[in-house]
Symmetry: C2
Subunit: 204 residues, 2 copies
């Protein structure tokens, strides 16, 4: 595809799960541009602890997060810190797209299982069930808000080919990661996502 | 207090839990004005199903909800519908305030347990644990957003004495409800919240 030698490639409309050790860095790369990747993180030693949009946005006093911002768990511990970001626009309001999203929003009669179904399947071997999937950190997803009405729009991602965001793990984690399955989120074309895992000591 | 004959009164900085049957209506009343009430709802027959901000905002394409808007669960079923609302400004982005909120945002050394602790205590008899507390629907909470930067502000509620919001249950539910414990959310004063439960047939 558009970029060589990633640790892993996530084919269009699919998802993976893997472990990330404290101190390791995860770089999520948009190899072709305008492609969203939904990211989840769980405390590997106690999967009841999971990424929390509500805690994170409250502590940041901001809905758009970027380099330097910590991502908190439902227990108010930092799970990941954003340490590099070439895009600067991601979403942390919306749950992963699902069969129901496609049924309710797109009117599909035979809907794809979406990022939700992909994450549920990928996380199952770690003992994580579908009810434990909260709002994801949606890398590269572009959701402008009309401040007066509160209307939200799912606009084309600002990411171009090769753009990336890097997270440093602050705990031992289970990560769920997708190449997003919703047409609108990805400007109408389903593309892969690449990711790279680097040791704690790697330079950015 | 400021309004007579509610079904229940929630004293300042406390919380309650109760059941609400499908079809019943719950009215949350701000008896003195400028007081927030955090609301949670669980499917009474399967508490793994809970209110989901991410699903609800995605399907509404709006972050500010009011009369006519359904509140969805993590399984994309409607748990509650807003059927009346005299205020029109509520928050559905932020998790209930907690010991950690007061420690991290306010720097308190001996922090109050907050809405999170109050909800956890009130929901415990229903078998609902603290890890099952997601983003709440924060009645009367006023959280303006700067569309350009994504900065969020916790501003004084727009509610005046006697203002209220009414929800109709679409499932048999367990409800958690607080009189919010965070100074900033309530314009610096902790006040009670009243609530009323009406049968399915009651006129609004």
């Amino acid at each position: 595809m558009c970029e060589a030698h990633p640790t892993g490639e996530i084919p269009p409309r699919s998802g993976v799960a893997f472990t990330l050790d404290r101190g390791q860095r995860l770089t999520v790369i948009d190899p072709c541009g305008e492609q969203v990747a939904d990211l989840l993180a769980y405390n590997r030693h106690d999967i009841g602890e999971v990424l929390s949009s509500g805690r994170t946005l409250d502590y940041a006093s901001r809905i758009y997060l970027t380099t330097g911002d910590p991502l908190y768990s439902n227990r108010s511990n930092v799970l990941l810190t954003i340490v590099a970001d070439t895009v600067g626009r991601h979403d942390f309001l919306l749950t992963p797209c699902s069969k129901d999203t496609f049924r309710i929003i797109y009117g599909d009669t035979d809907p794809h299982r979406g990022c939700f179904g992909n994450l549920a399947a990928a996380l199952k071997p770690y003992g994580i069930g579908p009810d434990q999937i909260p709002v994801a950190f949606n890398c590269f997803m572009n959701v402008p808000i009309d401040a007066a009405t509160g209307a939200i729009t799912v606009a084309p991602p600002l990411s171009r080919a090769g753009d990336h965001i890097t997270f440093e793990a602050q705990q031992d984690l289970v990560i769920g990661l997708t190449a997003c399955s919703a047409l609108q989120s990805n400007n109408g074309r389903f593309k892969p996502i690449h990711y790279r895992i680097d040791p704690a000591t790697a330079a950015l």
